[in-house]
Structure formats: C-alpha cells, structure tokens
C-alpha cells in the first residue's frame, strides 16, 4: 500500500486557513471575511466572471462511486455522443454564446476510452476557444496527446482526501485507487497540460479536513509546476436520483466561509462555482470570491441540441437560468460576463520546466 505523501499532512502552511474554518472561528465574522474576500477579488480579478459550460460526452462508467448517478450499478440509460452529435451539441452551445467548454465522461470504459476522448477533444478544439476535460485519470503520455489536440485544462477532483472514506465510497473500479487519483493532476502537468482544476465533493467527509488537504494539494503542485494555471471548485453534494445522503452536509454559511477563506488564503487562484448551487446563491457569491461559473448546464449526455431530453443527469441542477438571464443578473451586480478568456494560439503542451534559455539558442532580433 503506497504511502500518503508528507505534503498532504504538513499543517504548517494551513494554520491561517484552519483558523478561518474551525469554530469558534478565531478570526472574523462571516461578513468581515466576505468583505476581505471581495476586496481581494476586486483587486486581483476586477469586476469579471469567466463563464464556461459542461458537455457530457458519455455516461458509460466502470466505477462504483456510492454517491454518483452514473455509477455502474445504477439503472441509468447509457450512451455516448458520436462525432456528428458532438458537432451538433457544440453548434447549439455556440448559439448560446458559449466558447469555453468542459468535456466530461465517466471512468474509462471500452465504449468511451482514451481514443474516443482524444477525438472528441479534436472536434471541440475546432469549434470552441477553450477546451478542458474532466474525465478519467490518464498517463503522462495520454495527457500530452490531449494537450497536442488542444486540451488546455484538466479537472480532476479527489472527491475526499480522507483515505478511509475514499476507499469506502469508491467501491470498485480503477477509481478505487486513492494514490493514483492523488497523483493524477501531477501527471497532467507533467504531460504539458497548462491548467488544472482541483476540488473536493463536500458532503462525503469532514469538510474542514478536506479543505485543508485541498489547499495543500494545490500548493504542492504549484511549487513544482509553477507556470501552470490552477483553479479550485467547491461542488457540494446535492440531492440526486439514487438518494445518497451525504453524511457531512455543508450548509450555505459554511460553504460561503470556505469560499471566502480560500480567496483570502489564495488571492491569485481561480475559484469556481457550478450550477449545483441555486440562482440566489450564485448571484450572492458573484463578486465575493468566485471568479468562474458554469452556465446553461446540462448534466445529461449532450442536452444542448435537444433540450427536451428527459434523461437523468449526473446531479440535479439548481440554477437553470439561460446564459442571457444569468448575464443580466451579473451585470446588475456590475460584473462583466467573460465568455472568452483564452487564445487558442496558445494551445499545445507546455514546455514547462524544460524551458531554459541557453546562450546562443535564441536568434537575435535585427
């Protein structure tokens, strides 16, 4: 059994964050944290919100995650998008103004394997300004191949950093391997992926312990792959068909405290909130610390081209406003919605830590 790395349990750097998250909250009231979080967000990110939308390519899955609507023992109808369907979905998404997408699949299966994913990324990169992927853990070479095809971001949640809880919740399949999951973002960065998104699924384990571990994970990656972009998400378990009751529910106040505390502790990191949260919550958090949000989300396979689709999604959506409605709400708060925050010309694997200038290697300009 492989060891948990030292950096995951080293609490020297997380003292300040722990103080903000642990009752009796030695530091400030929630309002004071909100004010500081807002000030930092304004200074660093201005009055903007980056927007993206998820596209589920396939809901085939080989894993047995207790909490997920797509687990392999669920009765969900499975299918995957074929190339022409992907194109149609992308076209529909573009009509909504979307140009930054997150492609999702379940765990690696024969039906939705690496080749399928790679081809899908290729298609998406032709239509969209920015393509990220949230799928199964891959090898360094696979990540490099994805980067070559135009994938600039990988999102991979540890779900929970508590090893015991992790192994109990992921009953079978490759996802059961805790250490392999933990090492995945490092492999992505090693493969030249330029951005990684980390997160924990609040509700599965003690949220404060998980938050501190998440912080340590991000800091550890940032020290080695210091050229990479990093973002953090705060998915919170919501009711879904299948009825998994999260044993460690996180209420609105605690989630807000988490977001403010992370903004204060990590002034430069993108913080992401999805449509798992209600419209009121998202509107409230916009400008206070969150800098990136999903819009117009469908958590069914596809769903943009045929919105009448009655399939069950991976989780229920609580903010089902259209992109237009959401942008109006943002503007009311004096926040500018940003649909494009990337230039595809910068696609391709990062040279990363091998980028070193040697004398005479660069051509002089005349």
């Amino acid at each position: 059994m492989r060891e948990i790395p030292d950096w995951l349990t080293d609490n020297r750097e997380t003292m300040a964050l722990a103080a903000m998250l642990t009752p009796p909250y030695a530091s400030d009231s929630l309002e004071a944290l909100a004010a500081e979080s807002r000030a930092i967000t304004l200074r660093r990110f201005g009055r903007t919100m980056t927007l993206y939308a998820p596209l589920y390519l396939s809901n085939y899955c080989s894993s047995g995650c207790v909490y997920c609507g797509f687990a392999s023992d669920r009765k969900t109808l499975r299918h995957r998008l074929e190339a022409d369907e992907i194109v149609r979905e992308l076209t529909a998404m573009k009509k909504l103004g979307i140009s930054d997408i997150l492609l999702l699949t379940g765990e690696r299966t024969a039906a939705a394997d690496f080749d399928y994913l790679r081809k899908s990324v290729e298609i998406a990169a032709q239509e969209m300004q920015r393509v990220s992927v949230e799928a199964f853990p891959m090898s360094v070479n696979e990540y490099r191949a994805l980067a070559d095809c135009g994938c600039t971001g990988i999102t991979i949640y540890q779900e929970t950093y508590n090893r015991e809880r992790y192994e109990a919740l992921h009953r079978w399949g490759p996802k059961k391997d805790y250490i392999d999951r933990l090492e995945t973002p490092a492999r992505a960065l090693e493969g030249g992926i330029k951005n990684v998104g980390l997160g924990v699924l609040f509700g599965l384990s003690d949220p404060v312990e998980d938050a501190l571990a998440l912080y340590r994970h991000l800091r550890y990656l940032g020290r080695t792959w210091w050229r990479a972009g990093m973002s953090l998400s705060f998915p919170r378990m919501r009711p879904q068909t299948g009825g998994y009751e999260p044993p460690f529910p996180v209420d609105d106040h605690l989630l807000a405290r988490m977001i403010f505390a992370f903004r204060i502790a990590l002034p430069d990191t993108e913080l992401v909130l999805s449509t798992r949260e209600s419209a009121a919550y998202r509107d409230g958090m916009a400008g206070l610390g969150i800098t990136r949000m999903s819009i117009e989300s469908r958590t069914t396979v596809g769903g943009y081209d045929n919105p009448e689709n009655k399939e069950e999604g991976q989780f229920e959506i609580f903010d089902d406003r259209t992109a237009k409605e959401f942008c109006t709400a943002l503007r009311k708060k004096n926040i500018e919605p940003v649909f494009k925050n990337w230039e595809p010309a910068y696609n391709g694997p990062s040279d990363g830590n091998k980028a070193t200038m040697h004398h005479g290697e660069t051509e002089p300009c005349h």
Partner: protein
C-alpha cells in the same frame, strides 16, 4: 529540532554571518563566536605575505562547528564565478558556494543572467549553490529548477541598511519556493532580521550591520537572538492582519439566517 536543511547539511542556527568589512580579524572572529553562526561567508583573495593576517583559514578552522561558504565576489561573468567556485572548493573542502556576480561596483546589484548560468553549471557539478539575486520570483523558481540549494534575494542594496525594502516580492518568493529562502544584504538592525524570519525566510545573511556596529560581537549576539525570535514567532503562527473595512450593506444577507 527546527533545523535549517541545506543539501545534506543541518544547521541549528539560522543566522549566516559575513566576514567582510570588520576593522580587524580578531573582532571578526569574536563576532562569529558571539553570533553562534555555523555557516559563514568568505571571499577569495590573493595571498600576500605582508598581509598574512588576512588569511582567515587558520583562525576559522579553530572555531568548532563552522562551515565555510566562499563567495564569488569579484566575478562579473558566469565563467569567472565558476572558476572562482572551483578554486574555493579546493581550498575549503566545502560544497557551498555563494554565487555573487555584480558587474557594477557602485550599486553591486547582481547580474541575473550570469548568475543563472553559473548556478546551472555549478549545481550540475554538485556544488550547494546559494545564488544572490534581486527579489525576482520567476528567477527564483528558475534557479530552484536547476538545482540550487537555496535562493538568496537581497533585502536592499549591499551595505545600504535599507532593510527589507521589497517585502512584497520576497513574500511571493517565500510562498512559491520549494527551497529555503535566505534574505541577504541590506539588513541594518536585528528587528529587520526578525521581520524577515517572521515573513517565513529560512535564514538571513548579515554582514555590514555587524561589522560596522559600535560593538560587533554584541551586535552579532543581538542578531542571533532576533533571528531565533522571528523564527519562533513564524512557527507559532502569527495573528492575521485585519482586512478591509466592512461594507455598508451586508454582503452575506443573501445567505439568510444560519440553519
């Protein structure tokens, strides 16, 4: 023990002392002893029989527990610094080398390009490279990438006594670094050294402030105490500075009452 780890060397003292600018060698040696420093810098100089007292090797060998860190002061190119490092290692037997390349003898600011090149080569040869740089967070990471044992950003210009003039940059370096960050140059007072340690520096290097003090050994002792205090405070977890003003209308009203 909260020891400073540099390569395979462990030091209990986080005060590194420079040996230049003292009025005479006796005072300098007393200051070294008083400081408790275990790592000290020396410079290479031509042997001169008429100035035999300049030769510190004998006197320094008499002090127990000292490791020498020769500097490459005088070099203005990477090639010169590399050559100086080879000679210094022969003489000292120590793998430590402070790469110090300042082509302008007035402001003595380090050349980042020559420093990077010298560091890259010397690190690959097994030296424990301690590069002296301006507080440039990206340069610091590049040096870490090529295998330096630490980075040594200047607090302010050598001998200027301006303290940690660029704290914001040094904070970034400390936050992002995977290797020890040692503030070197410009520290004038023990409180400044304590401040640097409170910020999270792994050690500080002090020379002028001790050498030109009225009583160098006493000042050395004061610096030692300040460095220890600053480090202790850092490890104990300093109270956060309070943030911005509260907004006029409550930002968290949308959350409703706590359930």
């Amino acid at each position: 023990m909260d020891a400073l780890q540099l390569g395979s060397y462990t030091f209990s003292s986080r005060l590194i002392l420079g040996t230049g600018k003292f009025s005479n060698a006796t005072v300098m040696l007393e200051a070294v002893r008083a400081s408790g420093a275990q790592l000290i810098t020396v410079a290479l100089r031509r042997f001169n029989r008429e100035q035999a007292e300049d030769d510190l090797f004998g006197p320094l060998s008499a002090i127990e527990g000292l490791t020498l860190m020769p500097n490459t002061s005088g070099a203005s190119t990477a090639a010169e610094a590399i050559r100086a490092a080879h000679i210094a290692r022969e003489l000292s037997g120590s793998p430590f080398i402070k790469v110090e390349i300042h082509p302008n003898p007035q402001h003595l600011m380090p050349d980042p390009i020559e420093t990077f090149e010298a560091a890259r080569v010397l690190a690959s040869e097994g030296f424990l490279v301690m590069p002296y740089i301006t507080a440039d967070p990206v340069l610091a990471k590049r040096l870490e990438d090529v295998g330096c044992a630490s980075v040594m950003p200047l607090g302010s210009a050598i001998g200027s006594g301006q303290g940690v003039a660029n704290a914001a940059m040094i904070e970034i370096i400390i936050r992002e670094s995977g290797i020890p960050v040692i503030v070197d140059a410009g520290l004038r007072s023990p409180s400044e050294a304590a401040h640097a340690m409170e910020m999270g520096c792994s050690a500080v290097l002090v020379n002028s402030a001790v050498a030109v003090a009225g009583n160098p050994p006493e000042m050395a002792e004061a610096f030692a105490e300040a460095v220890a205090a600053g480090r202790k405070a850092f490890r104990a977890g300093l109270m956060q500075k309070s943030g911005s003003a509260i907004a006029t209308s409550p930002l968290t009203a949308f959350l409703g009452a706590k359930g």
